[in-house]
């Protein structure tokens, strides 16, 4: 049993010194008010039409069957590798690369991969490939199946993300082969059943990793334009603007934000003391902590969206209308919390996978000051991107006279999230 928040990794980032936190909070506040006064008054972002198409040859290469095949085979091979290591390999992340592959290379690695290349997990997802292969073998159309209920949206993905983060941050022994195997088998069974009923579109809505990767990919410069399905280079704002307003979107973003926040405060000695002396038992106490973190993030968002609706007087879907602007904030949290883990435990996992038993994890590439700067910069830049995205959306949705007032609640929310995020880094 391990009391570490992650199942993986022996080192945490140093707590932030107050100087960095104050500097970050001040920058966030300053930019927010500047944005109110100086930003444009007519919406500029057109997610469905914006972007510069990439050369046709490159697009053909990206869309070519062999490219897709290679990606699918890679995904399947990686899944097989992890499963075999879980079944046959020794226990413990210093001897077995499986846990590191799931928690670091997949979960954290999806962030940079999706930011650079778009929704990569859609291509690599071994379950999607498996479904495709079985459908081909049976002579079925992979897309065929009963339509999904309209209100389902991304809710299954939100639930899946919560389950995965619970496994990583709360469960008694997240790095154990048994726990991981149980999760992966359940995950596979649920999604293959779903895909068998509803066709491959099930994965777009329900697979936690696909939805996670897809949301982060909205910030990628490379994306597919909804209007004509062309691969384009576009600004992250246009990508964010094209996030479909599906039910469950808010829940998904709130789970990502809330669980990352929980990861932050679960390192604090005061929280660890609470958990290890709780009469409820550790796992129950930690589970409550995770759920409360997600609930607090979601409640704050719902309150602010409600306030925005009251002020503006008209807003048909106040909850989903601004959910896209939380994606960059969540990204900032993710970078701030997982950068060190990725650059130390990522190579460590690769070394274990290549056959070195119990190698020493590499030193972080940045000095403590550098990491602190990176963390604060990630959170503040995420905040700024979120403020700009929300501003553009509000000048489109609100009547001009109320546009500035209407975005005040959201601005307050984002400042709260940002200062909250910085406070967590202090802890």
């Amino acid at each position: 049993m391990n009391v570490l928040a992650h199942g993986i990794g022996s080192q945490h980032d140093l707590p932030l010194s107050p100087f960095y936190a104050f500097a970050g909070a001040f920058a966030a506040l300053f930019v927010s008010f500047l944005a109110l006064g100086l930003l444009w008054s007519a919406s500029r972002f057109r997610g469905d039409r914006a972007g510069r198409p990439i050369p046709v040859a490159l697009e053909r290469l990206a869309d070519a069957r062999p490219t897709r095949m290679v990606a699918r085979v890679l995904g399947l091979a990686a899944a097989l590798f992890v499963l075999l290591h879980l079944l046959l390999g020794p226990n413990g992340p210093e001897h077995n690369p499986a846990a590191g592959s799931v928690y670091v290379l997949l979960w954290v690695g999806l962030v940079p991969a999706s930011l650079l290349l778009g929704p990569v997990w859609r291509l690599l997802n071994p379950l999607r490939t498996l479904h495709l292969v079985v459908c081909r073998a049976l002579g079925r159309d992979p897309a065929a199946g009963r339509p999904l209920p309209v209100h389902l949206g991304l809710w299954p993905a939100a639930a899946g993300l919560l389950a995965f983060t619970w496994l990583e941050l709360v469960s008694p022994d997240p790095a154990s082969s048994t726990a991981l195997l149980l999760f992966l088998v359940l995950h596979g069974v649920v999604h293959l059943t779903g895909a068998a009923r509803h066709g491959a579109r099930w994965f777009d809505h329900a697979d936690a990793f696909e939805v996670y990767s897809g949301l982060l990919a909205r910030m990628s410069p490379l994306g597919r334009r909804p209007a004509d399905r062309r691969l384009v280079l576009r600004s992250p704002f246009n990508g964010l603007d094209a996030v479909p307003q599906t039910p469950g979107l808010v829940a998904t973003v709130c789970v990502v934000l809330g669980s990352t926040a929980y990861d932050g405060f679960s390192d604090a000695p005061s929280w660890i003391t609470t958990v290890q002396t709780s009469p409820l038992g550790r796992t129950t106490a930690a589970t409550l902590g995770l759920f409360v973190a997600v609930a607090v993030v979601a409640t704050l968002y719902a309150l602010c969206a409600g306030a925005a609706r009251l002020i503006s007087g008209q807003l048909s879907h106040p909850l989903t209308a601004f959910a896209h602007s939380l994606v960059p904030i969540a990204l900032g949290y993710l970078v701030a919390h997982y950068f060190t883990l990725f650059v130390t435990e990522g190579p460590h996992t690769v070394m274990v996978a290549l056959g070195t038993d119990n190698p020493a994890p590499p030193e972080p590439p940045l000095a403590p000051g550098g990491i602190a700067t990176l963390q604060v910069a990630a959170i503040v830049i995420g905040h700024v991107l979120g403020v700009v995205a929300a501003h553009d959306r509000s000048v489109r949705l609100f009547p001009p006279a109320r546009a500035v007032a209407g975005q005040l609640p959201l601005l307050a929310l984002m400042v709260a999230y940002t200062i909250g995020g910085l406070t967590l880094l202090l802890a």
Binding site: N2, S10, Q11, P368
Partner: protein, 273 residues
């Protein structure tokens, strides 16, 4: 795939699918307690040899003195150095004397036998060779002490003596193990932690230290356990009711957790800047 790995794999899968922890029950029973017994010729009875003259006086714990002539009599000096990890290293330089562990319990032969270490006059350990590592826990377990005496004995457990006094030498245990030598500077921070009934006292907190400083952790627990300092990968066995001391130099920056393995308690976090 050999049978064992196949069985492990099958078992993991079974456990994963059923989450039946009961299946994992191990074979906890082990054989009876090993009985101690003496090999032939290694009993503690006093065999009386014809070497020297057996005096009526004893060494203070029932072993009679065996007097030999001063000329050609065994002799010894002792050197004690604190060890960098734990306790002391004791070195006996003997002359006219051989360590004969094979024949202990047999008749006394001139210039042969073993040595006894005494802490403030109380027997501590028997030595069959010139080098001995004296663990700090042994000294603490004996209630501590200031002087270390090394005394020479014959195979029949009589003490070699000259002029009616045992052949022995005494030195002072001046320094505590982790202090005093240049290699082991005094720790910059010391933290005492007591674990009782699953509660950590003082409650887990953070210790801020500068990179390069030394920290000493003194942990006392009511359950046998293993102490683990993450990042530095230092492990130490914690024995029930004893204080275990771990000293380390903080040469990596970061936030590191100090925890116990069996009870999975966080004891403290080291913040190394």
């Amino acid at each position: 795939m050999n049978r064992r790995t196949a069985r492990t794999a099958f078992r993991r899968l079974t456990v994963a699918l059923l989450t039946a922890g009961a299946l994992m029950g191990g074979a906890g029973a082990c054989g009876g307690r090993a009985t101690t017994h003496h090999r032939p010729g290694t009993s503690h009875e006093q065999a009386v040899g014809s070497v020297g003259r057996l005096l009526a006086a004893d060494d203070g714990s029932g072993h009679r003195l065996r007097q030999v002539d001063a000329e050609g009599a065994p002799g010894l000096t002792v050197a004690v150095r604190p060890d960098s990890e734990d306790g002391w290293n004791v070195h006996l330089s003997v002359r006219n004397f051989r360590f004969t562990p094979d024949s202990v319990g047999g008749a006394a032969l001139p210039g042969r036998g073993h040595a006894l270490l005494l802490l403030d006059g109380h027997p501590l350990a028997r030595l069959y060779g010139p080098w001995y590592h004296l663990p700090g826990s042994l000294v603490r377990g004996a209630g501590g002490g200031r002087t270390l005496t090394a005394r020479l004995y014959a195979d029949d457990h009589t003490a070699w003596a000259v002029h009616s006094t045992p052949i022995q030498t005494t030195t002072r245990l001046t320094t505590t193990p982790s202090v005093g030598t240049p290699a082991e500077p005094r720790p910059d921070r010391t933290l005492e932690i007591v674990i009782s009934r699953g509660k950590v006292d003082p409650a887990p907190g953070r210790i801020e230290i500068k990179k390069g400083q030394r920290i000493e952790l003194r942990v006392r627990t009511d359950h046998a356990d293993t102490l683990h300092v993450h990042g530095y990968d230092r492990e130490a066995r914690l024995r029930a009711g004893r204080t275990t001391t771990v000293t380390l130099t903080a040469d990596r920056t970061g936030l590191f957790e100090v925890e116990t393995h069996e009870s999975a308690l966080l004891l403290t976090q080291l913040v190394v800047r």
